[in-house]
């Protein structure tokens, strides 16, 4: 039955119809009609302490559920604060729907209080955006937004809704009205790969002597990594991964050789440079990931949902545009078994990293912990299905290179955008979606101070995230860069003035501990893992410890 209701109420109904259980947000005057209606809904609202973190929390939730998650903010500064998170989701291809309040339709363009042209400002970072001026079109626009965000190459979609539009009465029957997807003329993402190209893929794999799979973040869509593992095993193809592709294959898998790139494993980069067929799956050949490949003859199969990524950074011999799950299914249907014994033996024999150049050897001073060993200890103690969310900087590289997840573990980071302050809010989003899994945010003392206000969010909403802060009183990654490239002329990397993070956590009512000796690492981590409430572990790391090599 068609009812009359405000657009704000219809919006809440639409979210319910999209099975949105949680909205991360921060209110303000322009978005208040939506908040008013939200109180009558089963959909829960999580109050963050900064709008960007609403976006990061939605990102974490979207990544773990594989479905678009929702964040919201008010007009003007609220909306503008969201941009960092929207841009992060865009670069990392994460489906989020961001809802912002806007000033009244007749005030737009008049520079009134808390007005910002958010659709204009966010344009470079959204998959698509709508400024909803016609209230009656709201339900179909919401439907389109969720469809666009979560299909094709996932990404953020922004819905900007003026205050008067939210209050306008519209006709909306709920489920019946909402069921049918309206036509979007300009949006028809490919799903299946071209059959001829699939044939060429099979032939190329058959002919190759030294094939190599490079697994990217795209493989987490629809659990496509399970098919990737099947293909690798059937044709005996070694697998390396990008940073976004970590945990798409278990670290201990006999065909797994770890992360490629500037900060990757030597053997993974060696494999990339010596293979005769590179199979890129849901990876976009980022500048930090693949260096100097253009300089040699190499057959490249590139499977990606986004045709613009194919041939952008690396010429592809066999481009395959399509949904990664569907394409891998097509490949598994045709792919015969094969052995690449010699190639695998060669890689396995050289898998040990060469001894670390003494110049780069971290000098472990008293009362500090080797961060690489620490991650390995954590890896040994944590449950198999733990979700690790690393931040950005040295902590990210130490974690990426030393974590070795099993079948069910999951690693997340912002490998594309590299946004500091991502880990804690993203972990909050993950934990909200998967309350039974252990969720651990790993950050540095630099990145933690960009997100420490979110401790309150975790406390207020009983979200049991664990936080590990690697403290070296430095912006370590930049410090390392200045040491190596700027003759050790260190500037603006000292974090003097930082608080005692455990005392800070205590001020929020959160328990925590200091770890300054590797001997105590097991005990400290067992306490962290056993905690039924949020917990902060402050790990002292030598200021000269490095991430390179």
């Amino acid at each position: 039955m068609t009812e009359k209701m405000t657009a704000a109420k219809a919006l809440v109904k639409c979210l319910e119809l999209e099975n949105v259980s949680t909205v991360f947000g921060y209110p303000g005057a322009a978005i208040c009609p939506f908040y008013d209606e939200l109180t009558h809904s089963q959909t829960e609202h999580i109050l963050v302490r900064h709008e960007a973190n609403a976006g990061h929390a939605a990102s974490g939730m979207a990544r773990i559920t594989g479905r678009a998650a929702v964040c919201c903010a008010t007009s003007g500064p609220g909306a503008v604060n969201l941009i960092t998170a929207i841009a992060t989701a865009y670069m990392d291809s994460i489906p989020i729907v961001a809802i912002t309040g806007q000033v009244c339709t007749d005030q737009i363009g008049k520079d009134v209080f808390q007005e910002a042209d958010i659709t204009g400002a966010a344009e470079p970072f959204v998959k698509h955006s709508y400024l909803i001026k016609d209230a009656q079109s709201l339900p179909e626009t919401v439907k389109k937004a969720f469809h666009i965000a979560s299909t094709g190459r996932p990404g953020p979609v922004l819905l900007d809704i003026p205050f008067d539009v939210l209050l306008e009465e519209i006709r909306f029957s709920g489920a019946a009205d909402y069921a049918k997807l309206p036509e979007i003329r300009g949006y028809k993402p490919n799903t299946a790969g071209n059959k001829l190209q699939i044939k060429r893929v099979i032939e190329a794999i058959q002919e190759a002597e030294k094939p190599l799979i490079c697994a990217g973040g795209g493989l987490f869509n629809r659990y496509a990594f399970t098919l990737m593992r099947e293909i690798a095993e059937r044709a005996d193809i070694p697998v390396v991964n990008t940073m976004m592709g970590i945990s798409s294959i278990p670290g201990e898998h006999p065909l797994s050789y770890g992360m490629i790139g500037m900060h990757g494993k030597p053997i993974a980069n060696r494999a990339i440079n010596e293979c005769d067929l590179l199979i890129l799956l849901g990876a976009r050949v980022n500048d930090r990931a693949v260096l100097a490949l253009n300089q040699r003859e190499l057959k490249v199969i590139h499977v990606d949902i986004d045709p613009a990524e194919i041939g952008k950074n690396l010429p592809a011999t066999i481009p395959v545009v399509g949904d990664i799950y569907t394409v891998l299914e097509q490949i598994t249907e045709l792919l015969p078994e094969k052995k690449h014994t010699e190639w695998n033996k060669y890689l396995r024999d050289n898998a040990e990293s060469p001894p670390v150049n003494p110049q780069y050897q971290p000098q472990i001073s008293e009362k500090t912990i080797n961060p690489k060993n620490f991650i390995k200890i954590l890896n040994r103690l944590m449950p198999d299905d733990t979700v690790i969310v690393s931040d950005v900087g040295q902590n990210q590289i130490w974690t990426a290179n030393n974590i070795s997840l099993g079948e069910s573990g999951r690693f997340m980071t912002t490998g594309g955008m590299g946004t500091m302050g991502y880990s804690v809010p993203a972990a909050i989003g993950v934990k909200k979606a998967e309350p039974l899994r252990e969720v651990i945010a790993i950050c540095g003392d630099g990145s933690f101070q960009m997100q420490m206000m979110e401790l309150a969010t975790a406390v207020q909403h009983n979200i049991n995230v664990k936080i590990i802060i690697m403290v070296n009183n430095r912006l370590g990654m930049v410090r390392e860069l200045q040491t190596n490239r700027y003759s050790d002329n260190l500037t603006a990397v000292f974090l003097d003035g930082s608080p005692d993070f455990i005392k800070l956590a205590a001020a929020y009512g959160i328990n925590g501990d200091y770890l300054t000796d590797e001997k105590n690492a097991d005990k400290a981590l067992i306490t962290l893992l056993a905690s039924k409430k949020p917990y902060v572990l402050q790990v002292s790391v030598d200021e000269r410890a490095v991430s390179l090599i």
Partner: protein, 166 residues
């Protein structure tokens, strides 16, 4: 690969903000726009944007692929053998069986239009003029069945020895 001009025809949704999405994309990806003109097509809900862009084949491929990613972009075609125009130009393709050709040639002559292409079933007329005359010409041809219209929008150069930047 040599750099050259490419004329790219783009069909887009005809609503607010579309042009800014397209020009923004060119700006942030570092694609050079040589000229850009927008005009509504025979379908009111769709605009045609004609862009002349500079770059090698790699750039052209990226321009097309990146444009495709915009939800508001419906269709893209790069037109080879581009011609540069210095006035507003309309290309109008009408249904034209051979027995109607003489009639259409006469209409074209009266209006100062050129016949630019003829096929068994169509005739394409070309008229370079001001906006009002273009609209009147379109009205005149409607009874024959308009198949497609492309308008460049106004681009102009100063006549004579003086130029704007002198």
């Amino acid at each position: 690969m040599t750099s050259r001009f490419h004329t790219i025809s783009v069909l887009v949704e005809n609503h607010a903000g579309v042009l800014s999405r397209i020009s923004g994309l060119f700006a942030r990806r570092g694609f050079n726009i040589h000229s850009l003109a927008v005009g509504v097509t025979e379908n009111e809900a769709i605009s045609r944007i004609t862009i002349v862009a500079e770059g090698d084949n790699y750039i052209l491929e990226q321009i097309e692929k990146q444009l495709h990613k915009l939800i508001d972009v419906i269709k893209i075609r790069s037109v080879k053998g581009a011609e540069l125009l210095s006035r507003e130009l309309m290309l109008i393709k009408v249904s034209c069986s051979p027995d109607k050709r003489a009639e259409l040639v006469a209409i074209a002559e009266i209006n100062g239009a050129k016949i630019s292409d003829v096929s068994q079933t169509t005739m394409t007329l070309e008229l370079s003029a001001n906006e009002m005359r273009l609209s009147a010409f379109e009205e005149l041809l409607k009874p024959y069945g308009i198949k497609e219209i492309a308008r460049t929008g106004v681009i102009a150069l100063q006549k004579g020895a003086n130029s704007l930047n002198s």
